[in-house]
């Protein structure tokens, strides 16, 4: 049991808006083990970022969080007060955000900010903090680490800033890192480097990693397990191999059809697409949120409640009324046509 770093059960986030209540996250459960990478993937507005903020207790003031269980390395975080949470954040739980320029303080040097992270949580001297900062900057592949300490964020390129962010997150040796779209603001070539770095560091320090992204290519390359979110719910979860090679939920299948793959997708044919748009999450809605856009949608899909169910393999679960056999047959048929 000690290997389970984060456990989340039935997490909800509601936001009061003008026209009622916006149910942004609706009963999400997941867990992360030591040394494991969980990717939460979905389109904009599906609630993936709010999920990560809810775990860190950094939600906007108006938002209401609810959960049956929220435990970090066995410690209950639901009852933890503001002071305890700020002890946890940056110490046992690190965060990496999308835009490194906005998450670094432009008025302080890199060294200053990195040392502060360690001194806030540990009783160490400036000297020790400085040594650790240099060690970690070298670890994340920054040359002339010592001279970087006196530089300001604006003097670094986007890729370097993100490396600094990663090094800063590692200062206290966290058990869990939550990275929200860490490479979206970067160029493709730099993206590959940063992902490679994250994967290596995670293996070396045996951390749990939650990676939140909309990029299925990133997910496939780095994830151990994948949770696909749609309109506030997890609609499919499993290992990367299960979700990408045997997608079972119609939404996952549709999403994978949308991506052009060099050398594989037939250029003379139109790309697959998902008709319609994401439903509004204000007020009440259908049992299956995807029903309106789904090719297999029936009247049954709009009534009652649809729970996650097991697919053919262990650990592969999805939220749909269709049998896994039917789903997979459909997927195969589309491939042949």
């Amino acid at each position: 049991m000690s290997d389970r770093i984060l456990e989340v059960e039935n997490l909800t986030v509601d936001i009061p808006v003008g026209g009622g209540m916006l149910h942004a996250v609706q009963g999400i459960s997941f867990h992360v083990d030591r040394g494991e990478t969980l990717c939460i993937v979905g389109e904009s507005g599906c609630g993936k970022s709010l999920t990560s903020l809810a775990v860190m207790d950094l939600l906007p003031k108006k938002a209401i969080r609810g959960a049956d269980k929220l435990a970090l390395a066995g410690e209950d975080m639901l009852g933890a007060g503001e002071r305890r949470m700020s002890d946890i954040r940056g110490n046992t739980m690190g965060m990496i955000f999308q835009e490194p320029m906005t998450s670094l303080n432009p008025a302080y040097t890199i060294g200053n900010q990195m040392e502060e992270a360690l001194k806030r949580h540990r009783n160490v001297s400036t000297r020790e903090a400085r040594d650790r900062a240099i060690y970690l900057l070298e670890k994340v592949g920054i040359t002339a680490a010592e001279s970087r300490l006196s530089q300001y964020p604006h003097q670094l390129s986007g890729g370097l800033r993100q490396r600094v962010m990663i090094a800063m997150t590692l200062m206290c040796g966290p058990n869990l890192i939550i990275a929200d779209e860490p490479t979206t603001a970067l160029d493709v070539t730099i993206q590959a480097q940063i992902l490679l770095l994250l994967a290596e560091l995670q293996r070396e320090f045996e951390m749990g990693l939650i990676l939140i992204t909309h990029d299925l290519g990133v997910v496939a390359r780095i994830a151990d397990r994948v949770a696909v979110m749609y309109a506030g719910q997890i609609v499919e979860e499993g290992t990367a191999d299960q979700v990408f090679n045997r997608p079972t939920h119609p939404y996952t299948q549709g999403l994978l059809d949308c991506i052009p793959i060099p050398g594989k997708t037939d250029r003379s044919k139109p790309l697959g697409s998902i008709p319609g748009i994401v439903p509004s999450l204000v007020g009440r809605f259908n049992a299956c949120h995807f029903a309106e856009r789904c090719t297999y949608g029936t009247a049954e899909c709009t009534e009652g409640n649809i729970d996650m169910r097991d697919a053919a393999e262990d650990g592969h679960r999805y939220r749909c009324l269709l049998d896994p056999e039917t789903c997979n047959k459909n997927a195969v048929r589309e491939e042949v046509v």
Binding site: S157, D187, Q191, Q193, L216, V219, A220, R221, S273, I274
Partner: protein, 327 residues
Amino acid sequence: MSDTVISARDVTRTFMISAGAFRGKKPLHAVNGVSLEVQRGEVLALVGESGCGKTTLAKMLLGLLPTTEGTIEFGGTPVADIERLKLASLVQPIFQDPYSSLNPRKSIGSIITLPLKVQKDPDPSTWRKRAEEMMELVGLAPRLFENFPNQLSGGQRQRVAIARALINRPEVVICDEPTSALDVSVQSQILNLLNDLRTELNLTYIVISHNLAVVEHIATRVAVMYLGRIVEQKDTERLFNEPEHPYTKALLQSVLTPDPSLDVPDTHLGAAYPNPVDPPSGCTFHPRCVNVMEHCSLAAPRTINSGDGFVECHLYDEDSGRGRAVS
């Protein structure tokens, strides 16, 4: 039978960048001697990292920025000699972010008919009908005519931007990152639409993108830019199957296809993007290149023709520039 729509010859655009209050200005060659020809009906993609000059080049092709050196010709006439209104009816842009490229205070109808008004179209009574036809063509319900941009989704807004670009039936459409602000499921809809419109209206596209998977799907020819120069240009299929320039190879490696059996690639592109005000000597790519040779830092590579395209790299130069570097 080649039918060149746009051609650029040795186009350079230089910006003067202030280096500090008491220091002089330094030149930044955003586009540095680029030549290209776009044939009617083809889709030319410009790819490269941010800061490589893609957008500056596109602005010059649109006539929004004058060139510092070199000429751009549209159908044989220099762009500088074409009247602005006339040029606008021939070339139209589609921008990346449909949230900022549409005026939030104007209705969809008036956004789409504005180009007709600007061109002083002689028949205002037909504007609404033509706009509605165009909306249907790009997959927008005509009932949205009176709506405002904030009532539409990102994909619908991008369709409005496309309708606005096409209402005057231009010959060339320049798409600057047309899908990067959109979700995957919407991105594929827009790509399909752009492909359909091209055949239907006989359009020529210049697509700027950093997403090579998108480029592979939509483009017929690809030009790879690095620090203001086109370093490799080829038919899409050949570029993806037999990339020659080390930079192109690295770019192709960093395309992350959704295949869980593969790992994150190591592109070996060590150093970060160089400072464009102070570019490296010789071949500007040499500090990041895996195949770097001694003379790469001494002499700029020549343009080597290979089949229907070209590559600028010492690796493919027979007498490999070594002689030139020494002399």
